[in-house]
């Protein structure tokens, strides 16, 4: 039986890059439908995505990546998709690698696959505070879940139906990527990483300085700890 696959692109003011991302997915992963969740953008993100023929959900105001991704998972659940991928709208991820990302799910090896920039040495150079922050987060997740995750904030992911159903019902809002891993761990769902290459972002800025990085770390740590003590239905 053919599996229904959906690529979800959460996008907030990505008019410059969202079109290219859609084209990339369509070219290298044609078996996937493409859903753009426009998270209340002030620019032409929605128009660009529609012109490229993607399915577009327009959230009426900016609600954050967690709520936007969850809208995508709800859509996937309602429309009977077997696999849902997450691809950032800024062109950082390589659509050519999507197919590889979904393989462990098709084989039933994992419930979720995370594309990691740090698993193998790649040409992707991140800033120092970011790398230190990432290492620290990995360590925290290792202590909490006993699993080694080299790139817990990666937004390049593929998930099977179990995960789609879980995330459609409940998905963390503030720092969803790392906290979602705790959720999987607590629900006894499996996840694995896979090395991916990552481009420099095509547009927009993500320059965070050291103070911001530390502040970010504290907030993420808090959300992880809360994630650990939270009860899941």
């Amino acid at each position: 039986m053919n599996k229904k696959i959906l690529s979800i692109i959460p996008a907030y003011n990505e008019e410059a890059s969202v079109g290219k991302v859609i084209d990339g997915i369509r070219k290298s992963f044609p078996e996937s439908d493409i859903l753009v969740v426009n998270d209340g953008s002030n620019d032409k993100t929605s128009k660009q995505a529609r012109e490229k023929g993607a399915i577009v959900l327009d959230l009426p105001y900016n609600m954050g990546i967690g709520a936007a991704m969850q809208a995508g998972y709800i859509f996937a659940q309602q429309n009977g998709y077997n696999i849902a991928c997450q691809v950032d709208g800024d062109g950082q991820h390589c659509p050519e690698e999507l197919k590889r990302l979904t393989e462990p799910i098709l084989n039933g090896k994992s419930d979720m696959v995370i594309g990691s920039r740090y698993l193998h040495k790649t040409d992707f150079q991140s800033t120092l505070p970011r790398r230190i922050g990432g290492k620290f987060l990995s360590l925290a997740l290792l202590v909490m879940t006993g699993k080694k995750v080299t790139d817990p904030t990666s937004g390049f992911r593929a998930a099977n139906k179990n995960v789609i159903n879980l995330f459609a019902a409940e998905y963390p809002t503030d720092y969803p990527e790392p906290e979602a891993l705790i959720q999987l761990y607590k629900k006894n769902l499996t996840f694995q990483e896979m090395p991916t290459t990552m481009h420099k972002r095509e547009s927009g800025t993500s320059s965070i300085n050291t103070v911001q990085a530390i502040y970010y770390m504290i907030k993420v740590m808090l959300s992880l700890i809360i994630g650990m003590i939270k009860s899941y239905k």
Binding site: V37, I55, V56, L57, D58, L59, P60, Y61, M63, A67, Q70, A71, I74, F75, Q78, T173
Partner: protein, 127 residues
């Protein structure tokens, strides 16, 4: 306690009670939260009419000055109210997120259906 102070306390708590009742009457305050506020107003009224009760309570708590017992109790009460409001806000914002997501999905569906209807309409006119 001087009679003027007692009078002021009684007037204030009666006006608070009246204000709360008026809010309920105009449906500005939901019944769920109204009960808590009504109870607060009544307790305040009882304490201002019967000041000996306040002295008795502060005696029980081992607090020397009766007004400190009043402050202590009101702070506890305020903390509880603020906490319950935060719970309400959290639940509202969660529902709001869900509502917005469903809204986005439905409006896309509506758009899709109306385009299909228009196309059907066009086909009907042609034939």
């Amino acid at each position: 306690m001087p009679i003027a102070q007692k009078l002021i306390a009684i007037i204030l708590s009666v006006s608070l009670l009246l204000f709360i009742i008026e809010l309920i009457r105009r449906r500005h305050l939901k019944e769920r939260y109204a009960l808590l506020w009504l109870a607060t107003g009544v307790i305040l009224l009882i304490l201002s009419v019967n000041t000996n009760l306040l002295f008795y309570i502060s005696g029980l708590l081992g607090i020397a000055v009766a007004s400190n017992a009043l402050f202590f109790l009101s702070i506890i009460f305020l903390v509880l109210i603020v906490l319950s409001l935060t719970v309400v806000v959290s639940s509202l914002s969660k529902k709001n997120v869900r509502l917005t997501q469903e809204f986005a999905i439905l409006s896309r569906r509506l758009e899709e259906i109306s385009i299909r209807l228009q196309m059907q309409d066009g086909d009907n006119k042609k034939s």
